[in-house]
């Protein structure tokens, strides 16, 4: 009796989650709206002066992207937890880490990747020089999956709790610090025309580490919190 291939099961999870996202749709829009709103509040709160915005821009963009990811994280396992689909994944014969990785990938495609679409617009709003835009997009492509992967551990630990939301930000935000540092620094260095390969390598290394370890940790966390 064959148990089916883990990759096939992971593909099934990925396709199902994407289909669900298309059917519900609102999930697609929320993080983008949040991202745009937070960024547009900064000039209102600080100053519309170009030089100031240029200095603050990379940090503001990265903090906003980080918060948008955090906001969307709750949906990662919530509905599957509530309707029992998560239980079925836990007792399926497939390695749970693979299924979790597929869920995280689907979640990032739906909530993280769309942020890139509005990033050029927001970069203009914050007076970011044009030549820094490719670097900004690259850091987001490398960095936001790390945020989703690390965040998944936090969500897995809190999904069974009634008031997990407030706790989630406490668990996850400190772990986001390195991504924030290297992401925003790469962008401001690029704006100042300083080479940024070092920062990009660091982000890439963090992505590799998170891809390897985070699904295992999140799977272990799910087994504990669904106990």
């Amino acid at each position: 009796m064959s148990a089916g291939s883990p990759l096939g099961a992971a593909m099934a999870v990925l396709q199902r989650d994407l289909l669900l996202a298309i059917r519900t749709r609102r999930e697609l829009v929320n993080p983008i709206l949040f991202f745009v709103l937070v960024v547009s509040l900064f000039p209102l709160g600080v100053s519309p002066e170009q030089s100031l915005l240029r200095a603050l821009g990379p940090g503001v963009l990265w903090v906003a992207a980080l918060l948008a990811t955090l906001l969307s994280l709750d949906g990662l396992f919530r509905s599957d937890f509530e309707d029992g689909s998560l239980e079925q994944m836990l007792i399926s014969p497939q390695p749970l880490g693979m299924l979790v990785l597929a869920k995280i990938l689907a979640h990032w495609l739906v909530t993280g990747l769309p942020l890139l679409l509005v990033t050029p617009l927001l970069a203009t709003l914050l007076a970011l020089p044009d030549h820094a835009l490719p670097v900004l997009l690259t850091t987001l492509v490398l960095g936001t999956p790390v945020l989703s992967l690390v965040g998944a551990i936090g969500v897995a630990l809190t999904v069974g709790l009634r008031r997990g939301g407030a706790l989630l930000s406490l668990l996850v935000l400190p772990l986001y610090v390195p991504v924030l540092i290297f992401g925003s620094n790469a962008v401001s260095s690029a704006a100042a025309e300083i080479p940024v390969t070092g920062q990009l390598y660091m982000l890439g290394a963090m992505l590799a580490l998170a891809l390897t370890l985070a699904p295992i940790a999140a799977a272990a966390a799910l087994r504990i919190s669904l106990h």
Partner: protein, 247 residues
């Protein structure tokens, strides 16, 4: 006696409870002795610093606290690994008892650091690499404590916190070095207060005595907390009834 049996026996709650009870007075006495000697050496015998005058003496609290803040996290994470691999109840108790103590050390390192900052930098808070790392470490501790208490079932909470502590341990070096790198970029290479090329023996001895005193203080507090936690967890077990009846 094999290692496994030794491990098992040490891990058994009644055995640990009694052993800890016997060790407690020794740890407490040694802690007070080291603390007295270290404070006397640091506050009275050690000469004032030629640059900072008397204000440097806060390092006798600040530095051991900062060392302990990391040390306790490592103990907690090691216990977390034991909890997840061998499901040892005693490791759950030690991890759970360590978290608030470690958070207190971290908090103390932050407070003394910022108090020291006032005479040194003219302000209570500077985004210094070490202080920033301590701040993030405090958040990591608060996350572990929050998770432990969020679960109604103690053992589930302990296991969840163990996962988080291990994730934290993987991240601490990354966070530490990224913060340090960030700091050098933004402030330029400043001489940090701990990287003194040489420290005079009259300051080093009390500092080390204080570090030992802090370790002993942690051990004493840990044993006390673990003992009361064990009594509460095992309150229906026969050995607890015997212990209470013996009083």
């Amino acid at each position: 006696m094999t290692i496994a049996r030794l491990f098992h026996q040490f891990g058994s709650p009644p055995h640990f409870y009694r052993l800890a009870g016997r060790m407690l007075p020794w740890f407490a006495t040694a802690c007070v002795a080291c603390l007295a000697a270290g404070l006397y050496g640091g506050l009275v015998l050690a000469p004032p610093d030629y640059q900072q005058g008397e204000s440097y003496r806060i390092i006798f609290i600040h530095v051991p606290s900062a060392w302990m803040s990391l040390f306790v996290y490592m103990v907690m994470a090691a216990c977390g690994a034991i909890v997840l691999i061998w499901r040892m109840k005693l490791a759950e108790v030690v991890a759970q008892a360590s978290a608030p103590i470690g958070a207190s050390f971290t908090f103390m390192a932050l407070v003394t650091g910022s108090l020291w900052g006032k005479p040194m930098w003219g302000t209570y808070w500077v985004w210094d690499a070490r202080l920033t790392s301590e701040l993030i470490l405090l958040f990591l501790y608060l996350g572990v404590i929050g998770l432990q208490s969020a679960y109604e079932d103690r053992r589930t909470g302990a296991r969840a916190a163990a996962v988080l502590a291990l994730v934290g341990v993987v991240n601490i070096p990354i966070i530490h070095y990224s913060v340090e790198w960030w700091n050098t970029l933004h402030q330029g290479p400043t001489v940090t207060k701990l990287d003194k090329p040489s420290i005079h023996l009259s300051m080093l001895v009390p500092l080390l005595l204080m570090a030992v005193a802090f370790k002993l203080y942690y051990a004493t507090l840990l044993l006390m907390r673990a003992r009361s936690d064990l009594l509460e967890r095992e309150r229906n077990a026969a050995w607890v009834r015997d212990e209470v009846a013996a009083r």
